[in-house]
Symmetry: C2
Subunit: 359 residues, 2 copies
Amino acid sequence: MLISQSVLRNFTQNIFLSMGCSDEHATLAADVLLQADLRGIDSHGVARLVGYVRLWESKRINTNPNITIAHETPTTATVDGDAGLGLVVAPFAMRLAIQKAEQYGSGWVSVRNSNHFGIAGYHSLLAVEKDMIGFAMTNASPLVAPTYSSERLLGTNPMCYAFPAGKYPPVVVDMATSAAANGKLEIAQRAGKPVPEGWIQDAEGNYTTDPHALKSGGSLLPLGGDKEHGSHKGFGLSATVDILSAVLSGANYGPWVPPFVTFLQPPADPVGLGIGHFVGAMRVDGFRPVDEFKAHLDNWISRFKSAATVDPDQKVIIPGEPELEAEADRTANGIPLVDSVVDDLNGLAVKFSIGPLIP
Amino acid sequence: MLISQSVLRNFTQNIFLSMGCSDEHATLAADVLLQADLRGIDSHGVARLVGYVRLWESKRINTNPNITIAHETPTTATVDGDAGLGLVVAPFAMRLAIQKAEQYGSGWVSVRNSNHFGIAGYHSLLAVEKDMIGFAMTNASPLVAPTYSSERLLGTNPMCYAFPAGKYPPVVVDMATSAAANGKLEIAQRAGKPVPEGWIQDAEGNYTTDPHALKSGGSLLPLGGDKEHGSHKGFGLSATVDILSAVLSGANYGPWVPPFVTFLQPPADPVGLGIGHFVGAMRVDGFRPVDEFKAHLDNWISRFKSAATVDPDQKVIIPGEPELEAEADRTANGIPLVDSVVDDLNGLAVKFSIGPLIP
């Protein structure tokens, strides 16, 4: 089912308003989710709306948060999200980072007491609009086992770096630090198909291709898959995200990160507040004139786009390109929603006594 | 052959002095190389000394550089290394980043017109000594093909993040963004053994286990190995290093990066100056009190060290631990050098008419 972004945006705003968000927060939160759907990252868009509602019903999300700056220097800060929606808290933190960068060249904000912040790319791109380089990362519910371990101790902990180009669109590296995102596993589960070796292990730590292994105590594997292929690097990147987002801010880290799903209880012995993010902005002209940087980044992009490829029909993909293609297509033609998501959204409409998704 | 660090350090300093380095630069450059040997990263220690000498003989390294700040804001700067040794230029840049962080909370320096900087961990750890978080990355000679490409367009482009802990040693994530480092390939070449699938491809872009494929036009693969296992993520990380280090500073990037080996000529159409680095420092107390951060990072480390493992004899390894174990062992027992490296070093002693490594 294809649905226009304006209809979906309006519906999503109404859900957030029904949860008690202010107009401003409802508009912003809907924008973050819609951006994910437009950019083709379906796992992080309106498909998550029912999850946010459940967290709110469990009193784990505060829809009227008093977001505060707990600590700061001219270019660093820790923000306390007051258990607000990450969709609202992370843009607050990034705007603070951008203000600091405007004044001093760079700004860095670690965030505690937040919740799932949607796609990292949304937040990084706020900096790119100002001719800055944007950084965004977050920790997440523990699903990934470190190299050699059979325990789930880390989230898929994404990191994102975004760079403004000239004639080309921005370069946006936005990636989970696990070998595969959970969304890809769900696709294999629905299709009843095995997943490639190197994505997951079972509860005992044996590599498996059974896409259901995660549900029976297994774990996702870090980027690299196994030690021989560099999984210690994926673990190191994931650890970096966890430390910058949570050890630095005072959020929960590692296995203490509260789960996004409400059928699992948060750990009884938290080591911090909520989940953590880390965002940053650096002015390009803190290093060299913006037009020079953009001209050279364009040259970089041109060279990589025209690289010789193994299959002549498969060009090198510049990070961020597939998302932009999806955005152009979905803006023109609408956003495809699977039946289960439509059912979830219509269920929310009934719950909040608002009009159905499609009248 | 085991050799004590003081003998090796003294010898290395003498080589740098013979190349025309000042006392200060010779001491510093030797310290960076020795740190690699002590920490067990043999590919980046004195084994490289003969390579630096060849670059100096080819007039591609200036041993008496006028390192300058080309551009700056309170928290950002671009440094021009004047074709100096990266071993000297990178610590200059990191000290500048630390100064900025002392004053404003964070400091970020992009570097152009430099050369190979040794191990990234050396530079990051300069920040850790000051209770800061250290960042260091560099681009390097093109050896890695982006996902789908048959061309070598990127270096092994390492990134390093280092964090000060309390009772434990620092957490140091220091990793090439390729699936395997070139040094591991050389070990397989010497042993005449195949390498795992997912490390390299041949000149046509076919995956191969032949460790010699790189010498006949093949490429290293990005972390992840192939698309199905996330090689686009390794490519994205490597691209991030290249852009921050070189597009931002005005160094050469991608296939224009000059090769470390002198039997290959630098590209005739450079897009910048030398190779590029990017370093940064953030004060921990720009976010939360240092003792709180360290207590929580200790807790993080404890939890991961005690994680259940697949093999009870193989514990989870905290990033930076193996290097520290090597350092303790080699400080006590000496640094092992393979015969070819000893021969190279003795050859340098003859060239510069200094005493042999072992009198």
